[in-house]
Symmetry: C2
Subunit: 349 residues, 2 copies
DNA sequence: ATGAAAGCGCTAACAA
DNA sequence: TTGTTAGCGCTTTCAT
């Protein structure tokens, strides 16, 4: 109590202690520890050994403060961490960056532009070498300004800035899915998606429109429900569509969380899938494999996205990319057909 | 090209610039910015205004380097970020800590003790004020040593160190679930869980044993499969149990990922639930609501766990807790009965 | 190949 | 209440 902790090391050793113990200068120690080739190999080894033996851990703050050009940290800004679309990408990027000794700093905005601004400020305070971000729909101008001054890569959502990014080609994916249904003969197809605020909501609806056009259908053939991206909203939207007098013979859902609610509504309605209704949902196929029958899903290969994100980030850090043309890469989600797909059933009028 | 970026601020301003512009000392600026009450309010306001207007962001590294006692960072070490058991807790803790201006640094071990050691070292290098960790089963001695010298809170898994922690009382939860089945009349109950390596695997199996004892059953009544915590293993384990000549009338699963595989196997087996088999799985009820019928789940209230973790962390940081008795808090997962539960069906011998 | 010394941007004694 | 002056622990010229 109150007595200093006995023993050799109170708070770990630093370069000075190492230098003194070995009778060299701190400069030499620093060079050896950073693998400079300008140190006698034998000496360097001795220094590293000593450091290891004494559990030396470099103070990141000191290092970052003196060395202006450090890739010690990368900021990662996402709306949620409990959504696979974001968490999977975060995990993958973290893994890949760890190889270079770069530490990922994860921050969560919960789609709040104010929090987003705070986070980005904070990251600038940490002097992260770069930022990977999935911006909030209402991103603040001040945030944009801040982002303008560091290497940035965005994913899933667009900020409107001319910066490199990786995105899901949801438009194409939805058009493909729609096409699959029309090929099966469906002419009345319900769509449940998210509202326009969310940029992928737009793309997905655009995809549906593309599909309609291609099949020669118009808006009256495709009853649409745009709702908030929550489970209950999906449930209600599906219920509304299924209670229509002239109800659709197929349903496409444009959102992972929505899909859970929709699947539940379909189940409770007692409508038989795929005999009386074909169903394509959006999200992780593993989840929807539980459904009876297993549901056809549009699923996104997040690891690919992470790959590209890290690649673009490296380009941005190295200043490889041309200033003018911000690289944009698209990943196309995969349609996995399953037991929930079939031709429309002619029910008696 | 090559020309310095024109304009007033190259890399943002610092305390010196503010001090010079306002004709005060850096100390005064620092005090004003940190809300010290020893600055003339009017002056303080003027300083803060100026700082805001010029987009001042404190350099965290400099701050951390000079101020030894800072709560700027908390390290968070978990095996996976794409598993709700960890990601949900991380998100909650992050949210709660953000209120105090504490930044959470998330690191992923993937259950690799070497990576864990690296991460913890790294966190020490960042001089995080504390660490919240869900240790790997094979945690290294060196890691333990490092953890001994900072405020630490563990959750979900135990390191064996005498440090505060929050855990799920899986033992009790499993015993309760088992009890529910025996109350319904089941005398032959299959258990599918994870191997002993994972500390919660042990607790869950212990719970099953408690339930057996209470119901007067012995090991031969409870065919058990201990497997790796992956979906396919769950599928295979369930298949094995369901193909037994004297097959169980009920099944309990002790793991979220396992449960997905088990549910799938049950579906494919064609066995009718709950008529010929009662089923209790572990995990998020939303997932298993998709099943037909919706499955009874044992689900863990992760937000509560996060609450306690943050609480314990604060205690540890404040040195509130007595050195000897490391606080341990238990959270009991909730059994949500559902359509998958019923009395055993007497099938002809 | 090595050392001496000057910072990086901030906070914290100690003076005034 | 404000200013002066040291550092925090490291990297990095510039000498040697």
């Amino acid at each position: 109590m109150g007595t200093e902790r006995a023993g050799s090391q109170r708070r770990g050793i630093g370069v000075v202690e190492i230098a003194q113990s070995l009778g060299v200068s701190t400069a030499t120690v620093s060079r050896a520890l950073n693998g400079s080739d300008k140190v006698r190999p034998e000496l360097a080894d001795r220094i590293r050994e000593f450091a290891d033996a004494h559990g030396y851990v470099a103070n990141r703050h000191a290092r970052a403060l003196s060395a202006t050009t450090s890739r010690a940290f990368i900021g990662f800004v996402i709306p949620y961490v409990d959504t696979p679309a974001f968490s999977t990408v975060a995990a993958e990027c973290g893994r890949r960056l760890a190889r270079d000794g770069t530490q990922l700093i994860l921050t969560i905005t919960e789609n709040d532009p104010e929090r987003e601004l705070d986070q980005v400020k904070e990251l600038r305070g940490i002097r992260t070498a770069g930022i990977v971000i999935s911006p909030t729909p209402g991103i603040l101008d001040e945030t944009k300004e801040l982002l303008g001054s560091v290497p940035v890569v965005e994913f899933h959502r667009r900020s409107g800035l001319a910066i490199p990014g990786v995105f899901m080609d949801d438009r194409k994916a939805m058009a493909d899915a729609f096409g699959r249904l029309t090929e099966l003969g469906h002419r009345r197809i319900g769509y449940i998606g998210t509202t326009q605020d969310l940029s992928n909501g737009i793309a997905r609806q655009d995809g549906i429109r593309d599909g309609m056009r291609l099949a020669g259908l118009d808006a009256t053939d495709v009853p649409t429900q745009l709702v908030a991206p929550v489970e209950s909203a999906g449930f209600e939207a599906a219920t509304r569509l299924l209670e229509m007098p002239d109800r659709p013979t197929a349903l496409i859902v444009g959102g992972g969380t929505l899909s859970l609610g929709v699947a539940d509504a379909v189940r409770q309605s007692g409508i038989e899938v795929p005999r009386d209704l074909s169903l394509i949902v959006y999200g992780d196929p593993r989840w929807f494999a539980l459904h009876k029958p297993p549901l056809a899903t549009i699923s996104a290969p997040y690891d690919q996205l992470a790959d590209h994100a890290v690649g673009l980030l490296h380009d941005a850090l190295d200043g490889t990319s041309a200033d003018g043309g911000a690289a944009v890469r698209m990943i196309t989600p995969i349609l996995r057909p399953n037991g929930s797909l079939g031709p429309p059933h002619q029910h008696t009028p």
